[in-house]
Symmetry: C5
């Protein structure tokens, strides 16, 4: 039984954690999910490290929504840098599911983007955990999470591929 950690925030304006849980459960079995909600994105890295080191999680999905102001962009950079450090110190993947609040035009589109990115990254986390060689067949294929895939230089006219 593998343990998947899920870290999310009260700052975000969409419950991406719910999408992650639904998609993981629709994708496969053999894992248990442990959820840890923190106030904001800068609280995510230590929460992820605690889930890995104190709870034994094998991989983390970290959901956050950086705000639109310059200070929020700096916070996102600091949070991502922390997420990077935790991965390096623990040798565990943390799949970062960040949707910037200004990435979509309106609230409805923002919700749709959040849901889709969360689900597609949940699948990535599943494969990294259970079948790390799976993604090699899509190496260099221009995959995107939350948007249409953009394809590779080999098939520019075909548009993106779906996995």
């Amino acid at each position: 039984m593998k343990l998947i950690g899920l870290v999310d925030t009260t700052f975000a304006r969409f419950d991406m954690g719910r999408s992650v849980i639904q998609e993981l459960n629709a994708t496969g079995t053999g894992f248990r999910i442990m959820r840890y909600t923190v106030p904001g994105i800068k609280d995510i890295p230590v929460a992820a490290k605690k889930l890995i080191e104190e709870q034994g999680c094998d991989i983390i999905v970290a959901c956050g929504m950086p705000g639109p102001k310059p200070v929020d962009k700096i916070s996102a950079q600091i949070a991502s840098t922390g997420i990077m450090q935790v991965q390096i110190l623990t040798n565990k993947h943390i799949i970062e599911v960040f949707v910037h609040e200004d990435e979509a035009e309106g609230l409805k589109d923002l919700g749709i983007l959040c849901d889709r990115r969360a689900r597609e990254h949940a699948i990535n986390a599943y494969h990294l955990l259970f079948d790390p060689e799976y993604l090699t067949r899509y190496a260099g294929r221009g995959l995107r999470q939350g948007y249409e895939d953009v394809g590779s230089t080999d098939d520019p006219l075909k548009g993106g591929i779906r996995h």
Copy 2:
């Protein structure tokens, strides 16, 4: 008996530490507060680490007020990066209560913002320490500290919710 560390600065123009202490005492019991005041925000991370490792604090609330100049913004980024590192090295949360001096229009509003953000983050720290699962019920709900909550994509017309 849990130990809550409080780090603040002489540079800030509002005594956020006082607000944190008042709010913590109004919220619950079972903890003792240890306060450590340093000159500026870049002195906060090592103070927090000393409180955790030398004094045994279980969580830290770190209050600071970055100045309005570009060099101050860089200092804030460095301080936040240090706060991040201390969390990652110690597996303890440090709740960062930073109010930028140019975040409010006048001194009076600045004081109100400082007081409110300090109090709301004090409550966050309390929950993370005594009931880490508490915040999950507000995951993705668009909570803000110091301002009105902005709500989630599910309830945009209802405006923010209060917890």
Copy 3:
């Protein structure tokens, strides 16, 4: 038998990993290649660390394609910083083969640039692994990977040299 780790992404729009493998095999023998594909560039550092520490790789070639948006540029900086940290913690080289999506005018040129940079850095990795003193003969010679070499201040009129 040396072990060369190859990390690449599904986000990139060209299969640089394939170019690296072809060029390494055309350059010499005495090594085995271990490939690990991850979603995006921020997933590369921990993948590289796992290849080094869990699989015993002696050197890593890390291929990625940062997107054209400002947020992508930040991601590239965070990824590179992580790659730097992994090298410092493991004392192993990670040759970073990053091609920015907006570095070439069109998709065809982008593919050519990717292929060429990947191959020239594969050769660099080979030399660092098997003959670390090799590159000293080209110290300060203005070599470039993916573009024409620009030469040194000693031979500005001769243009770049090829190795």
Copy 4:
């Protein structure tokens, strides 16, 4: 007997180390000062770490003067980040006394600013070393080093306070 480390540079255009030494000696006793001069600000962090770990210093005062060019501002950020890391790794304070070369209008004002900031931070270092609870009485009081204190939101008309 406490040991205060003093790190400064040949790049700076004012001998802030001299001001620090004078002010420390005028403030109290019970310490010895160990001085280490390096070329530039990016050489400061390792010098501070060597003073702490190889010489046993209890606290460091680090004086530097970042130049006015953009590349100098980046150097200042890197130096400050290194100073932060050394503090976190050693659990010792490093009081950063940086005066940017373009912070004052002319050379004379630059010298006055350097001298004053160095002296006021020397006092901060003294208190952090011998009486860490001293600064709490000035928490949130808008103290500044090198300039007039700006005061708190409680006393905006009174202007800054002096300690």
Copy 5:
């Protein structure tokens, strides 16, 4: 017998390593130089760490030439941050001799600047290694490497001093 590590790159357009070696040999004795050439500046930090930890070097001189594009400036920042980290982890100085390709007007001036900065930093490295107290006599004197010294606020009319 001390061991001085020299790290340089094939990307640079001037052989600064040669200048460093010549100047060190003209300055004193009692050391041996170990040279390690890597492709670019981001490969320098781990090379320096390997020279220190695997070869026993006592100090490192690291020569590099960041390119003129924004992405090159980011690379320089990442490289410098890595050089900083290696120093902090090893307690050894790494004297960074970086000349930005756009720092001089033409190729000839670029070469002159490279040669001069490399030589003046070689002398700094020599003093830090054999006589660490030497530089204190020049503390706050406005020394520059590669350019004329700018002097201190005490002697603005005298211009720079030479050491």
